[in-house]
């Protein structure tokens, strides 16, 4: 496929910089950068690395919070229990389904919204942007409750609105079946996080240079051709960043499931399993092992995206 992209932006280093070396100024900038980012980096390490390492350590023990005296080292025993349990694989399946469905739908919808925002009249743009962002500003638990109330048989209005559709009656119990429950959970997620993707894509759209669009237009490219050959290839990095962030987020889904079904009808996600073992059962060892596996899955997704799609985050920032 022929695509049209600009050569990488020129480096902004002064011409007098010694060849192959770093100028005094960029060295000073680098040092300043570290000084500015340093405290945040240290705090990040404390609040993320420490709990992760502690979870890895606990996951090697049989440890119940109410029975600390009987804590015993069992090596990888907890992982063996989890990985041989059909419940774990069911939860992984549910999580993957939710992740794939929501991310794909959100990408398509989000791209549409980003186009609308970028093409809207200058005067409408701020209002439009704010309106589109509102769902993202809503707390997930609140959004989950709203969706639950909407579809609930006693408090909901959805059944009466959709009663004209075949298969939907005032007595349709959305949360009484696995697939309808998952449908509502996915809808709630999509409604809430599409704005996030559309905002990232809008930033990507802004990155596509107008000169390329004009050149393609002069060459007689149709709107569709310009979209596929010019716009999308030039914002590939932004698309990948949006997909990556959303996939990582979607894989950790918890709130919506907790509020809407509490895991009934086989709607438990991996995070939900971690919650039940750690918080409800206070089995810290087993729960930590579930969390560590969830963490590994997330790391795997991140690496998969970065290596598989050859995303260069530095390029996305315009540094190279």
């Amino acid at each position: 496929m022929t695509t049209t992209t600009l050569p990488p932006g020129r480096k902004t280093e002064p011409v007098s910089a010694p060849p192959g070396g770093i100028s005094d100024r960029s060295r000073a900038e680098r040092r300043l950068g570290w000084m500015l980012a340093g405290p945040a980096f240290v705090v990040m390490m404390l609040v993320t690395a420490y709990p992760i390492l502690q979870a890895v350590y606990y996951s090697l023990f049989n440890y119940r919070l109410t029975d600390p005296g009987n804590r015993s080292f069992i090596g990888l025993g907890n992982y063996g229990v989890i990985l041989t349990d059909p419940l774990w694989w069911q939860a992984v399946g549910v999580t993957v389904i939710i992740t794939v469905v929501t991310v794909v739908v959100e990408l398509v919808l989000g791209f549409g919204l980003a186009l609308v925002m970028s093409k809207a009249l200058q005067s409408l743009r701020p209002i439009l942007r704010a309106a589109i962002l509102i769902p993202y500003a809503v707390i997930t638990v609140v959004s989950a409750f709203s969706w639950q109330f909407a579809f609930n048989i006693t408090t909901g209005f959805v059944n009466s609105w959709l009663a004209w559709l075949p298969g939907i009656s005032p007595d349709t119990d959305w949360f009484g079946d696995r697939w309808t429950s998952l449908l509502v959970i996915c809808l709630a997620e999509i409604w809430k996080t599409t704005p996030f993707i559309s905002l990232l894509l809008l930033a990507g759209l802004a990155q596509v240079p107008d000169v390329l669009q004009e050149a393609a237009q002069v060459d007689g490219a149709t709107w569709w051709q310009r979209m596929w050959r010019v716009t999308i290839p030039n914002m590939k990095a932004a698309i990948m960043v949006a997909l990556l962030f959303r996939s990582l987020d979607a894989f950790r889904i918890f709130d919506s499931i907790f509020v809407m079904t509490a895991g009934a009808n086989g709607t438990e996600s991996v995070s939900f399993l971690a919650y039940r073992q750690t918080i409800s059962r206070v089995e810290i060892g087993l729960g930590s092992a579930v969390s560590v596996l969830l963490f590994l899955a997330v790391v795997l997704i991140a690496f998969g995206f970065i290596k598989g799609f050859k995303i260069d985050l530095a390029q996305a920032r315009g540094e190279r």
Binding site: L65, D67, A203, A264, V282, E319
Partner: protein, 452 residues
């Protein structure tokens, strides 16, 4: 984040220059925050460090303000010996337990007294989180307490909690429907009779089919009513707990649960139906029969007062003991309620136990029942004229409490109830094999061989 090419991050003097006043502002904010924290801490310790009366903190389940009022009354009655402050726990019982267990595991000194849902005392007692009840207190507070409540506050033959209020489910019926169906509600009725009557009259039989604690409550009542027990042989060692879920009684209970769920008269969305769903169903024109806690009575009266319900609706409410599983065996109604626990990490265990005696006095229990709708654990309270006036069904509640059976008492309650809810939900899927499957799951979970 993507940026336009060439716009690399480049700090300017301007942005650094502007930082100076910001730092000052931030410092001011940080100072204010520190002062706030310090003053808060000082205020919290204030009365103690100044030699004033100690402050007892009572972690309460949310209610209509009754526990806070009782705390104030008992603070006054202590003649300055102590003050009781209340601190509110999450709304649902699971959330309350989760918070208390985590705080107690961290040896949190801020907890003195706790309102514990009835199934939770064994777990906390076994872990050593509850201060032993002094024997004189134990003998005083267990006097005249209804049987089920006392049983739920006992672990390893010792009283570990102070019974405060006791809940039980009744069989509620619409007098008009029962009459039309020809049911004599003066006589004990069975689940089979209720299904038949509801089908005959095309009215709803409301129960709780949702995957939640209410499902365990129902299942336990069915198994106990059939003469069985969820835990056949109890033990503090999870490997030695023997379950009774494949017993004939449990199989019979499963059969009743299934029959009710597929009877076609439980209303729509039975598998997500909670106590509140049942209560609103019972207020509708399709209402026939319902098993539920007594709060439904107060709720209906409140709605009449607010003008959202006709007076004729509660006038049609009838009540009797929980339905039987088998005609000849008396039913074992569900038991709920709150026991008070005193934390082993409290700095004022003696005062805390003194306070629990005040909190659970007959006078306070009667006040709590009349104003907050929570039935008393002390049998004598039901003779109180105010209670009799507010609760025409007071005698039935007391009778039900005497016959009620607690849910399994075990330190591993969350595993047991979680396993039951997994296997017995949705109730329409329950078969004769469900008991054996639940037994296998819960045993495996207790042995640490399976996730829940």
């Amino acid at each position: 984040m993507p940026n336009a090419p060439g716009n690399g991050p480049r700090p300017t003097l301007n942005s650094l220059g502007r930082a100076a006043p910001r730092t000052g502002w931030r410092r001011g904010l940080a100072g204010a925050a520190a002062a706030l924290v310090a003053s808060g801490t000082l205020a919290a310790c204030g009365s103690d460090s100044e030699g004033g009366p100690p402050t007892l903190t009572w972690y309460i389940n949310p209610d209509s303000g009754g526990q806070a009022e009782i705390a104030a009354r008992c603070s006054d009655q202590s003649d300055g010996a102590y003050r009781i402050e209340v601190s509110q726990l999450p709304r649902n019982a699971d959330g309350q337990r989760e918070q208390l267990v985590r705080r107690l595991a961290a040896q949190d000194e801020s907890i003195d007294i706790m309102s514990l849902d009835v199934p939770f005392a064994p777990e906390l007692a076994q872990a050593g989180f509850l201060a032993p009840v002094p024997s004189d207190v134990a003998s005083r507070v267990s006097e005249g307490v209804v049987q089920g409540s006392l049983e739920s506050a006992t672990w390893n033959d010792e009283l570990v909690g102070i019974p405060f209020w006791a809940n039980t489910q009744l069989l509620w019926y619409r007098k008009s429907v029962a009459e039309a169906a020809g049911l004599d509600m003066e006589q004990p009725v069975t689940w089979d009779q209720l299904i038949e009557a509801a089908q005959d009259q095309e009215k709803i039989l409301s129960a709780q089919g949702r995957r939640a604690e209410s499902l365990t409550v129902w299942l336990n009542a069915l198994i106990e009513s059939a003469g069985g027990h969820i835990i056949a042989k109890n033990s503090t060692d999870p490997d030695n707990i023997e379950l009774g879920l494949d017993s004939p009684a449990a199989t019979r209970a499963a059969e009743v649960m299934h029959d009710v769920a597929v009877s076609g008269v439980v209303g729509p969305a039975f598998s997500t139906s909670s106590e509140d769903t049942s209560a609103s169903q019972f207020e509708s024109s399709d209402a026939g029969f319902m098993v539920n806690w007594p709060y439904v009575w107060a709720q209906a009266l409140t709605k009449v007062e607010a003008g959202t319900l006709e007076q004729s609706v509660p006038d049609d409410y009838g009540w009797t003991l929980y339905p039987r599983v088998d005609e000849d065996t008396p039913s074992a109604p569900p038991l709920g309620g709150i026991n008070l626990g005193v934390s082993a990490y409290s700095r004022y265990v003696d005062f805390a136990y003194e306070a629990t005696e005040c909190i659970t006095s007959d006078e306070n229990q009667a006040y709590y029942m009349v104003t907050n709708g929570n039935p008393a654990a002390s049998a004598a309270v039901y003779d109180d004229p105010d209670v009799q006036e507010a609760y025409p069904m007071a005698d039935t509640i007391r009778e039900s409490l005497e016959a009620a059976a607690p849910r399994p008492l075990t330190p591993y309650y969350s595993e047991v109830t979680g396993g039951l809810q997994r296997e017995y939900h949705p109730p329409s899927s329950v078969t004769a094999e469900t008991g054996a499957a639940a037994q296998a799951l819960i045993s495996a979970v207790l042995r640490g061989d399976q996730l829940l």
